[in-house]
Assembly symmetry: C2
Homo-oligomer: 416 residues x 2
Amino acid sequence: MERLKERVAHIGQYAVTLLKWMVLGGVIGLVGGIIGSLFHIGVDTATQVRLAHSWVLYLMPVGGLAIVGLYRLTKTEGKGTNDVIASVHFGEQVPGLLVPVIFVSTVITHLCGGSAGREGAALQIGGGIGYQAGRLLRLGEKDLPLATLCGMSGVFAALFGTPLTATVFALEVISVGVLYYAGLVPCLTAALTGYLVSVLMGVPPTRFTVTVPGLEVRTMLLVMVLALLCAVVSILFCRGLHGVERLLKRTLKNPYLRVAVGAAVLIGLTLLTNGDYNGAGMEVIGRAIAGQADPWAWVWKLLFTAITIGCGFKGGEVVPSFFVGAAFGCVAAGWLGLPAGFGAAMGLVSVFCGAVNCPLASIILSVELFGSGDLLYFAMACSISYLISGYCGLYSSQTILYSKLRAEFINVRTHE
Amino acid sequence: MERLKERVAHIGQYAVTLLKWMVLGGVIGLVGGIIGSLFHIGVDTATQVRLAHSWVLYLMPVGGLAIVGLYRLTKTEGKGTNDVIASVHFGEQVPGLLVPVIFVSTVITHLCGGSAGREGAALQIGGGIGYQAGRLLRLGEKDLPLATLCGMSGVFAALFGTPLTATVFALEVISVGVLYYAGLVPCLTAALTGYLVSVLMGVPPTRFTVTVPGLEVRTMLLVMVLALLCAVVSILFCRGLHGVERLLKRTLKNPYLRVAVGAAVLIGLTLLTNGDYNGAGMEVIGRAIAGQADPWAWVWKLLFTAITIGCGFKGGEVVPSFFVGAAFGCVAAGWLGLPAGFGAAMGLVSVFCGAVNCPLASIILSVELFGSGDLLYFAMACSISYLISGYCGLYSSQTILYSKLRAEFINVRTHE
């Protein structure tokens, strides 16, 4: 009888956990989904305005000064995605003010044509929502990180329409070589809820169509070479972004001056190019996957993004990494004799994987973006890119708990 | 200059690791693919013979005695999948003789109509090949486990034609809550090679077609209920198998007597039923996914498998878990008002997930078996089944490093 009671209590514990996270994940996903969808609509509207009125570009210095002022005013200077990751690691606080601040700053960045994504912002908005919700509900130190992860996946899912990628990404991005399995149900619930909300609010999910060759050895070997090249590009991407940021910080110590100079340079570069490198560039990514890309597009995008983020504008690095990967993959496919669109799809996923060190999220991203016909090529490309990119990564607060090289526990940080 | 040298050496280390595992994984995958394909052909031929000559059933006691004798003769008694998992954990030896012994025993089991799978055998054959290859090549203690994992995924991929599932399964099955990322490139290379070899040797990959409802809230809620029920079935499955095995061992201490009695009981049960529960039962699984299953088929299969494995026959528990899940899911879908074939597919993946504690491998299994149209339903079902099945599992040598309930490091064993 005692034993039966114990057993029932044991099973009850799991049922209660399931129910708890269904509700919590659902609520966080609902809030995250609404705010994430509004954010998506905000960024889209800003982009439409910019495209309709080309003179808005010249407001870039003003926009930059406003962003720096906003961060200074709210005492959130220097806070970003790294702090959200650190919060999951060490339970540090995610400032609640970060949510509106990153929201507005990213919309401003897109309005004036800065080159940035939106999922860095999504992670911060989501992480902030999740963390604050967890605090409000007085979750303990073992549950609070899961709430933060819930928020991250909910908003990510609402923005991209890829709920499973959002889930696995949130679980995988915190530590290299570790997946936070305990967050599976919470994050998936939040991501699904966020996604459904975004669909109801009219946000279209990101999808591409790509024709993929059948599985054969020759193509597989070429994909491996392409993945190797993409891993190198992902290293250049991370180093480029971090290097330019450091350089600008060292040479221009005043943040107002820095953002003004950066904006001026960006305006100059925009006038030199055709506008492809301003904003997120989703339509350029689409063109690359359809088989069209300028040979140097990936270098331009890297440069634009490095200056935009480095001088103080806000947004994210994930869509730029998609852009750089797709544009590079499209061009490199030509050298290797692979179909250009297929190369672009491969490049998108591989460079993302190398930059964020999340191979499983990247493989699932390929399924959610492109369908499952080509799973094995993508899986091979992601695992190679994951290995070769080493401990180079976008997020310096990622810890590396297990070696990429052998079955060994290590505990270090990614570096740029 | 020094710094440059260091950097080149650093990058070189990754390139060398990549090359090393491409070659090692390829070789292990090649050997594993050939032996795995032969094994597949052997089991298939045995099944054909059994179906053509119904009197072969009565040879079951003789077959059982031969198996027990074989294990005794080669001093591999009691060795099995658990030892392969333990070898990856602690570097213990996987006896080389296990490879031919499990090969022959499984073919005998299928010949006389025992109810068993083939992937338990596949993991042992593969693990044995990988471990012995690693020893032969004098790999160190950090690399030897990866070689064992390579073998496991190579043979698994050859048998099922699902290379990515094979990869993630090998990386995920060792410890609950931990994924062996360092094995990604090695295992994927081995799995792809094994798969390609199996295709060349004429082994057809396992695939099913299932029609899946579009994503909507009502269906999602019903899927959650189904997943909960499947988690309970997976617990019954593991407990049933382990319980019957313990009971038989306790009541019939002599292994020859045990297998003879078990065989006699199985012959009796076979005469009572229609033959659906002998062998692997892939065609019954196919029927369930097409929407047809007897209401009690899952209970019968559980019973047949528990006696088969418990009394000393060999094979695996994974295909039986597919069978039980598909048959149960098909029936339960009727209660819930879900399409029967969809319920069967959901049940197959969920019960497998609950039994082996590998949620990501299960999600990827759903993509490889059924395509990506229904990813989110499967993902939700797997994550619920993973959580609710608790620390119950097929493999008692699985360690649980991270809690399923919260973000917490624990370090215990699965139990039945």
